[in-house]
Amino acid sequence: MGSKQPGRRGFLKSAAAVAGGLTLGSVEPALGQTPESGTFIKGNDELVAYGERSRFVTSVRIQHPPGGRPSPDGFGKVFHVAAPLQDSVGMITPSSLHFVGTTRGSFIPDIDPREHRLMIHGMVDRPLTFTMEDLKRLPSVTRPHFIECAGNRSRPQHKTVQETHGMTSCAEWTGVLLSVLLKEAGVKGGAPWIVAEGAEEVKGASSIPMAKAMDDCLVCYGMNGEAVRPQQGFPLRLLVPGFEGIFNSKYLRRIKVVDRYYMTYNDYGHLTQDPKNAALGYQIGPKSVITFPSGDQQLPGRGFYEITGLAWSGGGAIRRVEVSTDGGRRWMDAEIRGTAYRMAHTRFSFNWNWDGNETELLSRCTDELGQVQPSRAQVAEFFDVPLDPSYRVPGRDNSIQPWRVASDGSVHNGNA
C-alpha cells in the first residue's frame, strides 16, 4: 500500500519500541538488535537543537512535473517541487514539505535579515522603508492559508496525488497586514494597483489589484511557528490569500503603488487571449482531492477505511465537501475535520466500507460563495474540448479528481 500505510505502521512499531525500551530503562541500543526492532535514537546536539523526524518516515517532495526539469539542476537551481499530499495529515503542510514554485528556476537567495528592507513608495503620501525589526514591532496576524500554483492540474500520465495535485500546500503564516503598511505610507486616492517585487536575482514582480492589497494580503516573516523558510521567501514574503501562486512574491523588498497594470514579466506570462479563461484568473476556484486512498496506494482488502482528503478555495472558507464511492452516481456529505478557515486547506473525511468491487472515489467541494467544484465534463464543455485523455483546458483546472479502485485494491488515476 502506497507510502501511507507503511508510514503509519512504521510509526506504530517505533512508538511501541520506544515504549518498550522505556520500561526496560535502557538508553543504549542493545547488541544484536536490528534497526527495526527498537534501538533508541541517541541524543546529539543537533537533534536537541533542531529536531528531526523519524528515519522511518520517508515522505519527500519530488520535481514537478514528473519527468520534467530536475530540481535541483546541475547548477543548483531549483524549479518546481511538489508536496507529498498522499502522506499528509491535518491541514498544515510542514515547511520542509511545502511545495516550491519559481519563476524560471533559480538559486535560493541567501539573505541576511539584518540587511533586508521593504520599501513602499509610488503613489503614497510618505515613502517608507521597513527593516525586519520595524515589521515585527507592528501588530501581527496569524492565519492558515494555502498557496497553489496555477499550473496544478491532473494529467493522464500522473500516477499519484503528489503528481496530480502536489503544487498546493497550506501553512500557518504570520506577519503584518499589507493594508496596515499601505495606510502607514498613505495611499493616494484612487491608486488602483500595486507592484510587489522580490529581491532574488530575477526580482520577480507581479501587479496586484489594490482591492486585494487592502483586503487581506499579508507581509509574512513567520511560517508554521518559525521564520519563513528560504525556499518560501526568507526573510519576507507576500501572501495573497486565494490568488494564484505567482502573486505571492518571495524575498519581498518593494511595493510600488501605481496608476495602472504594469505588465511585468510575470503578468505577461499570465496573459491570455480567451476572455473565458482570463475571467477565471487570479482567484483559485473551489478544489478538493482525496489523498487516501489515492493513486499508487494499495488497499489490503475489503472492509473499513476512512477516506480522507483536502479541500480549498480562493473564494473563502469551504462550506461543504461531498464524496462519492460509486463513480459519481450518489454523493454523500463528508465530515469537515477541524475548522474550515478562509483560503486554507480543509481536511475532510468519510467513513467507507469497501465491498471489494472495482469502483471510483470522487470528492467535490462548495465554498462560502456557493461556488461548487465542477466535474471534468463541465469544464470540458465550458472550454469546448474533448472529454478523453487528450483533455486539456487553458488556465487553471479545478475539476473533480477520480481515483479508480481496482478489485485487487490497487488505486489508479481515474483521468488516465
Binding site: V180, M263, T264, D274
Partner: protein
C-alpha cells in the same frame, strides 16, 4: 429601489472614508524610515507601459546585435535568437496579417508593451549576471530583438521617449483582466 437603497447603505462607510481621505492620513504607528530619492531610484526597476521609470540611455538594433554576442546571449538563446536551451526570441514565420498570438509565446512579439521587453532584459538577463547590463546595452538589446521580430526598423533609436511609443502588434490582443472584488465568485454563472 430597495436594492438601490441597500447598495447606498453598504457604500456609506466607504463614501465617508473618501471624504476624510481628502486630508492626507497621518501614520498610525510611526514605524519605518523615509528612503532617500537615490534609494528609491536604485530599486525603482519595474517599468510602466508609460515608461516613466526608464533611465537615460539609447541603443539601436545594430548595437544590440553586438551586445547580444558580447554578453553571451547566443550561448543560451542561439546565435540567431533561436535553437538554444533558453526560450526562442524569434516569432514564428507566418502570413503578414495573422493574429499576433499565432506568432508564438515570444516576449519581443507577444508582449503588449515594449517596456516589458526592456524591463525583463534589465532585471533578469543575462543568467547569473542579472542587473549588470548598462541602460544603453538594454536599449540596444531591446531594439535588436524588436527589429529581429519586424516590429521596428533597424535604424530606429530606442530611448526613454521612443520605447513606450513602439506599437507592439499584440497591444490590444489580450482578454480583459478579472475585475476582482472581495467576496465575489470568479465568473458569474460559471460552474467553478
Amino acid at each position: 429601489m430597495g436594492v438601490f437603497t441597500m447598495e447606498m447603505l453598504r457604500l456609506l462607510p466607504f463614501l465617508m472614508l473618501l471624504g476624510s481621505s481628502a486630508l492626507a492620513q497621518s501614520p498610525t504607528y510611526g514605524v519605518g524610515s523615509t528612503p532617500s530619492e537615490e534609494e528609491i531610484r536604485a530599486w525603482d526597476i519595474s517599468i510602466s507601459p508609460t515608461g516613466q521609470e526608464l533611465p537615460p540611455g539609447r541603443g539601436t538594433a545594430k548595437e544590440g546585435a553586438l551586445v547580444y554576442l558580447q554578453k553571451g546571449c547566443a550561448a543560451c538563446h542561439g546565435a540567431a535568437g533561436e535553437g538554444g536551451m533558453a526560450p526562442t526570441l524569434l516569432k514564428k514565420q507566418a502570413e503578414p496579417d495573422i493574429d499576433p498570438w499565432q506568432l508564438g509565446r515570444v516576449l519581443p512579439i507577444r508582449s503588449p508593451y515594449a517596456t516589458t521587453v526592456w524591463d525583463y532584459i534589465n532585471r533578469a538577463m543575462p543568467l547569473n549576471g542579472e542587473g549588470t547590463l548598462t541602460a544603453d546595452e538594454v536599449y540596444a538589446l531591446t531594439a535588436f530583438l524588436l527589429h529581429k521580430n519586424e516590429v521596428i526598423p533597424e535604424d530606429e533609436v530606442l530611448d526613454a521617449q521612443s520605447l513606450p511609443k513602439v506599437k507592439m502588434p499584440n497591444r490590444e490582443g489580450f482578454a480583459p483582466l478579472p475585475d476582482w472584488k472581495p467576496g465575489k465568485p470568479r465568473l458569474q454563472g460559471y460552474p467553478y
